[in-house]
Amino acid sequence: MTARFPTTGICSCRSGCPGDVHLTHLSLMDFRSYPALDLLLAPGVTTFVGSNGQGKTNLLEAVGYLATLGSHRVASDAPLVRQGAASAAVRARIVRGDRAALVELEIIPGRANRARLNRVPLGRPRDLLGLLVMVLFAPEDLALVRGDPVERRRFLDDLLVARTPRLAGVLADYDRVLRQRSTLLRTAAAARRGGRTSDLRTLDVWDAQLARYGSELLAARGALVEALRPRVENAYSAVASSPAPTRSPASISAAGEVTLTRLEYHSTVLAGLPDQALIGRAHSASIPGEPIAGTPGGDRAALEEAMLAELARLRPKEIERGVTLVGPHRDELLLFINGRPARGYASHGESWSLALALKLASFELLRDDQREPVLLLDDVFAELDTHRRARLAELVMPAEQVLVTAAVDADVPVTLAGARFEVVDGRVDHVAG
């Protein structure tokens, strides 16, 4: 390994090596508003303060891009490149324990990105996934609770990849098969309407491929929801409970009150099963957990069979509508507060508490996996009342590194004291004290 990485290489196993992770150096070239920027960072809390539109969020977006190869603000890469430039570059030095790695990513809109690790080009940028793991808190998080199902599926899938980078490949394969199969169905449906004969001879083989990747994704999501459930419940109690000591989270559960919040995963794959022997719960399409969270191999085979059966059952409907109706891309993560669906029923404050709880649970889960995420808090304090601000500040303190942006100093709880930078018109200056 030393032969190939002459610099002190970070452990390449990308999974659970001991040691806290933080960035010591971030440099940007032609990224968003920054022609060139070099920033030295330290462990602990760093706050970037500046008015809106000065470039604070761009800094966190760049760090997030290194971790996920995507932006939390835009779906395409073009807006990330400074106007007039052909490409953008993000470079960071990542330290894990006593090892360091230099990660470089060139973002070229419309083309494949180029990635280097310790100056060695990587075959695929995807191979960077897992070196830097982050959890981002942003105003957009409210959509996790109030938005469409796609927001919650993306939340689960992003977390899956952060925990197990290999699954990025499964997701990409699933997506590719899904698009091919859906095109086949759509073309056939159009041919039928046009009075021509539709060609569905290859549908069986596409079903087999879809079930193969879909079952793997489903098994992974099932296990993830199980792992998240207790953590979300705890985090919700911690964020939502009033500060009075008589109503601490422990006393709530001790008093035997109803669980404040609940997660349910509803799968289109299991919707048509007459009995739920596969998942061990009758008359419900949700995945309660143990069987799926258990041995992935055996359960994956059962899920694959279930998915093939459901595809067969809904085939006439799929052919008629020209859409793929069965699979993880149509599943739903349902969130409940006090027994009612959070989407539509929860108040603004409750929605925020739940959104924060989902993110805090991700943070805790990744820490328990020893993935040691860096926390990014983008303008999130401004959205919260004083009580939730304080609880959030308290709960993120254990992180090795926290990067915070805020429009005004006063938004950030004093407990989060640390390094301060002022961001004014693309200039980032360290402020003493």
Partner: protein
């Protein structure tokens, strides 16, 4: 923009796969300054390929006659057919000198987005080649990607009832590589396709 014919040349070259506008420009100016005899030879070759190059009547590999070099070679084993997507895959397998059977070039892979279904590939002709019972093994060597896998599965399902042995190329670890550097998909496939050695 260059004048008239120079720009035409750049545009034509830029239409070729793997050649962007800058490479097209570089090649165009190379041709302008090159020896006229060389350029005329290139032009003559380009003219000839559309007239002279044909596809083998049996296997659809590129050929200069009705049958390609491999199909007309009596020493090749008629019992094995290796199914590939493109002619260039034939060349790649020939380089290994491992395979002594014959080929069948499908002309692509099943790809609904690209508008390619089974009838757009030389599948009917492949099935016809199996009819007389000479072929005992069909080796599926389509690309190890989504479309290649689907094409292989489709062929396997079509041909299995005919009593011909159908095999698929193993996919796994490259020789001379380190296990620790293999990507997870490759390593996973290699696990799936592991063999008993003792």
């Amino acid at each position: 923009m260059y004048e008239g014919i120079v720009q035409d040349l750049i545009d034509e070259l830029g239409r070729l796969p793997g050649i962007g506008p800058k490479s097209a420009q570089r090649i165009a100016f190379h041709l302008l300054s090159a020896d006229p005899a060389d350029v005329r030879r290139l032009a003559a070759t380009l003219n000839e390929i559309k007239d002279k190059v044909r596809f083998c009547r049996l296997c659809f590999n590129v050929a200069q006659a009705e049958l390609c070099r491999i199909c007309s070679d009596q020493r090749r084993d008629p019992e094995q057919i290796c199914v590939v997507e493109e002619s260039k895959d034939v060349i790649a397998i020939e380089r290994t000198r491992e395979f002594r059977g014959r080929y069948h070039v499908l002309g692509g892979a099943i790809n609904p987005i690209g508008g390619i279904g089974p009838d757009d590939l030389h599948i009917r002709e492949l099935i016809a080649r199996l009819a007389d019972g000479t072929v005992t093994e069909l080796i599926l060597a389509t690309d190890p990607n989504t479309e290649g896998e689907v094409t292989a599965s489709y062929l396997a399902r079509q041909i299995a009832p005919m009593g011909v042995k159908v095999t698929r190329l193993a996919s796994g670890l490259p020789m001379g590589g380190d296990l620790e550097w293999a990507d997870e998909v490759t390593l996973g496939r290699a696990f799936e396709g592991r063999r008993v050695v003792a």
